[in-house]
């Protein structure tokens, strides 16, 4: 399941639903009801139910999405104990130094990401140009991004935090070899 596809589909459907409600109300606005009070009262009786539905949806979404976070500080002992391939990443206007830049599929990689000058965004794109993971590269900080490549191939790294004139050419590659 590609996260971006799910987010796109859910967002567009929900946005279309909002648009649909507004269009329906706008279309019927010209039909005048002499006594608007009962209509308003009925609408406001509906609101607690809408609140309940939205609240339940929000609790569900947060429950589902907060289980697995990308931050090392909240990683389980099992995850932390697992063997990893360590990769050092240093961003500097306008280049990445990635050491080593070849890793094995199937084994977690711990990217230690930092910057020597300004903020950069370390984003890993799969061979189909879809982002699979990212973190910020910040001067003075060592951000640890854990990711397990499932498929071998040439992955691109792009900068996703604006960093000056050649921001758009700040790229590198990571080669993922079969396990």
């Amino acid at each position: 399941m590609v996260v971006q596809n799910v987010v796109w589909a859910v967002s567009i459907i929900l946005m279309a639903a909002v648009v649909g409600v507004f269009v329906w109300v706008a279309d019927g606005a010209s039909r005048h009801v002499v006594d608007h009070a009962p209509l308003t009262a009925a609408a406001y009786r509906l609101r607690p139910w809408l609140f309940l539905i939205l609240a339940l949806a929000m609790v569900g979404a947060n429950w589902r999405t907060l289980i697995e976070l990308p931050y090392r500080a909240v990683a389980s002992a099992r995850v932390l104990a697992a063997p990893v391939q360590r990769v050092q990443v240093v961003g500097e206007q306008w280049d990445w130094r990635i050491t080593p830049n070849q890793v094995k599929a199937g084994t977690p990689v711990a990217f230690h990401v930092t910057s020597r000058d300004v903020n950069h965004g370390f984003a890993i794109y799969d061979p189909s140009l879809r982002i699979v993971a990212e973190t910020q590269a910040m001067p003075g900080f060592d951000n640890v991004l854990r990711y397990t490549f499932e498929q071998p191939g040439i992955y691109q790294v792009m900068c996703l935090e604006y960093c000056g004139l050649l921001h758009h050419v700040m790229r590198a590659t990571i080669t993922v070899v079969p396990r």
């Binding site: 996260v3 971006q4 596809n5 987010v7 796109w8 567009i12 929900l14 946005m15 909002v18 648009v19 507004f22 109300v25 706008a26 019927g28 606005a29 010209s30 039909r31 005048h32 009801v33 608007h36 209509l39 609408a43 406001y44 809408l50 609140f51 939205l54 609240a55 929000m58 979404a61 947060n62 999405t65 907060l66 976070l69 990308p70 931050y71 090392r72 206007q93 000058d117 903020n119 965004g121 140009l129 879809r130 982002i131 993971a133 990212e134 973190t135 910020q136 910040m138 001067p139 003075g140 900080f141 951000n143 996703l160 935090e161 604006y162 960093c163 000056g164 004139l165 050649l166 758009h168």
Partner: protein, 504 residues
């Protein structure tokens, strides 16, 4: 009171009203012109990404910086004129302070434009520390300083304006809590005794903006010192927190100010007032708190942040949607539903503004979800969601107010208004959907040059941007040609309830 004294008082009030109206018209004209100019910058960038125009990266990133700073600033000015116009019906506010804000904005705008187009400053509107001091020889420290001084000058103007509004609210309602309707929100007073809708919105926007601007000033001053004393440094993470707190609060306050136009104008068309009840006041109290603590959702990819702060950022992002959807959007739908309302451009724009805000909340919440942000942060999903609630939200609300003001003058070009409205709406939808689609395809934001697979999104987005510029351009020209006539109108005529709307 003698007859002479009465006449003198009336003359004084008339002069005051005339001055206020003149400043309001100046505000609207400035917003209209700057808005259009910044939209042209935006269109140029999209056309460059689409490879329709040859724009060198150096100019592209200057345009990016000017567009960002200009749009955020002018959205603030747009919100300010809407807020000021309606809140002064309920509380005393100072026209000189209002004018000072506009003058300071223009001074700041000149500094910012000079920093970009003369000095080459292109550090993005967020001036993320330490980028302003690390241009790699592209711009000078003086250019970066001019940009930051420009922001500071603009901030001083807004600070004065918000303090004056808060002062007026305090004098009228006894406290800012009363202005927010806190007692009505928690059931200590009957809801019918609460302030009218414009007042809690103005109170909330002014409280949060004072705090946001002060924090923004702190980080701007520290960054300025760093420009000239490189040995003076600060933590990049602390600076990021300060900048995003300021930026988030300021841009959100523009919506909270502009929505007052919806609260005030739509009911005039729908023939019944906006219902203020306990939930309404509760929503504004909650929004005041939430807008101040939600900003960590901009830092979800800063793994050095305490995880609890990022989890709070996600949860509050979701909760922030409730007041928008269940109070303002629901309220607008209820006011309009079967009201006998006759749609025209101002009412349509106000209604659209709420729709844009409500719809934009959805992709924004998605982006505020940590696992989603892990693969969509700083892609075009981000301009996709914020253009939905700014271009089709805040800007629509402002345009609703502008066209409502302009309707006082009879004109021959009224036939073009629906065309302008639909160009703007259609173009706006194409524009934001192209951004969202590109974001879901991992297209990065803020890239001067795009790869071949991304060009389709850029070309569709450029078409949308062009339609928006055409639609807004027509509305702006129609307003500007009426400014002289509006300035000559009797003082009570401008921006009063429309005769046809007031009649039941």
């Amino acid at each position: 009171m003698s007859a002479n004294a009465g006449r003198a008082d009336r003359a004084g009030v008339r002069d005051g009203e005339t001055a206020a109206r003149a400043v309001e018209l100046a505000y609207i004209a400035v917003v209209a012109i700057v808005l259009l100019l910044m939209m042209l910058f935006g269109l140029t960038m999209r056309a460059a990404q689409a490879q329709y125009l040859d724009v060198q990266p150096r100019l592209f990133y200057v345009l990016l910086t000017m567009h960002g700073a200009g749009m955020v600033g002018i959205a603030g000015v747009a919100g300010a004129v809407v807020m000021w116009h309606f809140v002064r019906r309920h509380v005393p506010v100072n026209t000189t302070v209002f004018l000072a804000n506009l003058v300071l904005f223009l001074i700041g705008a000149v500094l910012i434009l000079g920093s970009g187009f003369i000095g080459g400053f292109a550090g993005a509107w967020t001036f993320l520390y330490p980028l302003p001091a690390h241009s790699n020889g592209i711009w000078s420290a003086n250019a970066a300083a001019a940009y930051m001084l420009g922001l500071l000058v603009i901030g001083v103007g807004f600070l004065l304006l918000h303090l004056d509004v808060l002062h007026g609210i305090w004098r009228t309602y006894g406290s800012l809590a009363n202005g927010l309707g806190l007692k009505q929100a928690i059931g200590l007073k009957p809801e019918k005794t609460g302030p009218p809708p414009a007042v809690p919105a103005a109170t909330m926007a002014s409280i949060v903006n004072v705090l946001g601007i002060v924090i923004g000033a702190v980080v701007l001053i520290l960054s300025l010192v760093n420009l000239y004393v490189p040995s003076f440094t600060m933590s990049a993470l602390v600076a990021k927190n300060l900048i995003y707190f300021f930026g988030h609060v300021f841009i959100n306050a523009t919506i909270y100010m502009a929505v007052i136009a919806v609260y005030e104008i739509l009911p005039l068309y729908a023939h019944h007032p906006w219902k203020t009840n306990r939930i309404f006041y509760l929503a504004w109290v909650a929004s005041t708190v939430m807008v101040l603590i939600v900003y960590p959702h901009h830092l979800l990819m800063d793994f050095a942040m305490p995880p609890w702060a990022l989890v709070v950022g996600q949860i509050i992002s979701y909760l922030s949607g409730l007041p928008v959807l269940l109070v303002t959007a629901f309220g607008a739908l209820t006011v309009v539903h079967r009201s006998g309302l006759r749609w025209d451009t101002p009412s349509g724009l106000c209604f659209l503004g709420v729709l844009g805000w409500a719809a934009g909340v959805i992709p924004a919440i998605a982006d505020g979800t940590i696992v989603v942000n892990s693969v969509m942060h700083n892609t075009q999903w981000v301009p996709g969601h914020f253009h939905t609630y700014l271009l089709l939200g805040t800007v629509a609300m402002f345009l609703g107010y502008m066209t409502w003001t302009a309707k006082e003058v009879p004109h021959e070009t009224i036939g073009t208004e629906p065309a302008a409205f639909w160009l703007y709406v259609g173009g706006g939808i194409i524009f934001v959907v192209a951004f969202l689609a590109a974001g879901s395809a991992s297209v990065p934001r803020r890239y001067a040059v795009h790869l071949a697979p991304w060009l389709t999104y850029d070309r569709i987005g450029s078409l949308g941007a062009l339609l928006v510029v055409l639609g807004v351009g027509i509305m702006v020209v129609q307003f500007l040609v009426r400014v002289p006539a509006l300035a000559r109108l009797p003082m009570t005529a401008v921006a009063q309830p429309l005769p046809e709307a007031a009649a039941e």
